[in-house]
Amino acid sequence: MSRMTTEQAIHQALAEEMQRDARVLLMGEGVATKRRDLVQDFGAARVRNTPLAEAIIAGTAVGAAASGLRPVIDLLFAPFLTYAMDALVNSAGKLRYLSGGQFDFPLVAMSMTGSGWCVGAQHNHNLEAMFVHAPGLKVVMPSTPADFKGLLKAAIRDDNPVLFFSDLALLHQEGEVPDDREHLVPLGQAAVRRAGTDVTLVSYAKTVEACLQAAAQLQAQGIAAEVIDLRTLKPLDEATVLNSLRKTGRLVVVTEASGLCGMAAELAALAATRAFDVLRAPVVRLTGPDAPGASSWVLEQAALPTAEAVVQAVQGMLAEMAVAAS
């Protein structure tokens, strides 16, 4: 184990996978500028600065992926993905299927999002659910440095196109990261961060921490909350969520992304369709608002579900239970 930041864990994953597989290459605006050691170790052909043109960066990655390379592209901020939508959604996501399986698209599209840098809505937009909705793509959004490394390595080795979202607020967070070059976190496996029997808190990225803080506060009140970190949004680890729900009967979903048609809605639907018989309270969604991200620190923070909000939601759920029982 080594202690490092998320940014360092990402860098280590890139370096290890480029070392392991000569087909892996890195492209994007500034990747060669920022990662000089990778240029030195693997050559300028495999670490390529690009024009500031997301559509052609993504399109080039799609073409290269179908032709034997395993590109990783850094598209910087998630809102810029809309420029890359055609290549990612229409090409990478659909041409495997439309061609009858003639092509694979082993590529990773990295981008950053989330509040914390006061950069406003055109650099901060948790639009991950847009890609969850697109067939043929996988979507990853980790919360710990160890997972950033293990999931990025697994994404690079996956033969499918993977959207890899990095929460801006987590980039400088430190944590223990395995040194093992085979430290892989399989896509599609959620992590139970804390075990509990009274309520299931499901989240991913920065709001996992809010759930953990809430769980600690709730424990002081005698309420045992289970905290699930999804880590991968697609494929969704339904089994881990359902197993927890069968234990607790209560679900609170916490996301920074807005609620309409998002992951929180999907998890509420999962509970309603697959665990209705064990639900002891209505599902609660704590999400960001249907509003663009503001720049002002105060407004940016106001859009975030907090630990206090999670605690209140759980208390409300249990209070309703108490009223119903009396």
Binding site: R23, L25, A45, R48, T50, P51, A53, A55, I56, A58, G59, T60, A61, V62, G63, A64, A65, A66, S67, G68, L69, P71, D86, A87, N90, S91, L95, R96, Y97, L98, S99, G100, G101, Q102, F103, D104, F105, P106, P135, G136, K138, A154, R157, D158, D159, N160, L184, P186, L187, G188
Partner: protein, 311 residues
């Protein structure tokens, strides 16, 4: 060219009888045949929704193409593509996209993989698109990257005057897309796209140049879409005089006339070639219509690669 023409005219008849419509390339056959014949087996081709001529020129089996158009299991893509995005990896026709400009977005990546040693040594990539795609922003991004990264890529613009249902004169102030390419620093050639020998000569020259220095080239083929955007299409929006002008320049008839004039072909020989093409397409129709429908239980097969994380 005769086989392409027979294939697409048969598709028009099938559509009238209820088969799915297609985007034909009637009138543009010389572009496809002239360029594809200048390529080698080690080269890769990207095309678009108007792809039949490129595929047939590359040696695609008209029966499997037609089966794909009809949505049958023996099609090149198992019936999942239909006419609009037929890829045939075994022929080197890859990543066919019906998104106008999609082919231009992916072509640099295919050429980059080639440059980085993934294809057969010395192979190049040719990408076919039209004047409509040239009006997409990705056109410029694609050309710029190909020049900057020195990619072995042949851009082939079939300027057919039509962008779906809109004439090119309504969409761009210039006539020459090659001028835009030249602005990106690309060596360009503009050729009569209805003259298969002229297209072939220009394509051979461009291909040889790309193989020699590994840098991209641009070919603008001036041609015309003789049929509508998508069958059925009554072309009521087409100027009759303009259409008549281009019908008189039919690339298939022109080449037949030229060969007859050169005594390279006689009338009986031409008749025989036409009959051979017709027989080939007739067999293709029989093959396609006899092909099974895909099993609905396979609906979600091929969405994802099975190989995920290697433990």
């Amino acid at each position: 060219m005769l086989r392409v023409r027979a294939y697409e005219e048969t598709l028009v008849e099938l559509q009238r009888a209820g088969a799915p419509g297609t985007c034909t390339s009637v009138g543009q056959e010389a572009c496809a045949v002239g360029v594809v014949d200048a390529l080698e087996a080690r080269d890769r081709i990207l095309t678009n929704h108007r792809s039949a001529a490129h595929l047939i020129a590359r040696g695609a089996d008209p029966g499997r193409l037609m089966a794909e158009v009809l949505g049958r299991v023996d099609g090149y893509c198992g019936g999942r593509s239909g006419s609009l995005h037929i890829s045939a990896k075994e022929l080197g026709v890859v990543l066919t996209s019906t998104i106008v400009g999609g082919e231009l977005s992916m072509a640099p990546g295919v050429a980059l993989a080639q440059k980085m040693g993934q294809g057969e040594p010395g192979g190049i990539v040719a990408v076919f698109f039209g004047d409509g795609a040239a009006c997409e922003g990705i056109f410029h991004e694609s050309l710029n990257l190909a020049v900057q990264w020195q990619l072995p890529l042949l851009f082939v613009c079939e300027n057919n005057d039509w962008q779906a249902f809109v004439h090119r004169r309504e969409t761009m102030p210039d006539n020459a897309i090659a001028d835009w390419a030249a602005g990106h620093g690309l060596p360009v050639a503009t050729v009569d796209g209805n003259d298969v020998e002229a297209v072939h000569a220009a394509a051979c020259e461009a291909v040889a140049a790309i193989r020699a220095d590994g840098r991209p080239r641009f070919l603008e083929l001036v041609t015309y879409r003789l049929r509508g955007h998508f069958e059925p299409d009554d072309q009521a929006y087409v100027d009759a005089d303009e259409l008549a002008h281009w019908q008189a320049r039919d690339p298939v008839q022109n080449q037949a006339d030229r060969l007859l004039a050169q005594n390279a072909l006689d009338a009986a020989g031409l008749t025989q070639l036409r009959q051979q093409a017709a027989a080939r397409i007739e067999a293709a129709v029989s093959f396609a219509q006899a092909s099974a429908w895909p099993d609905p239980r396979t609906l979600t097969r091929h969405v994802y690669a099975e190989q995920g994380v290697q433990p």
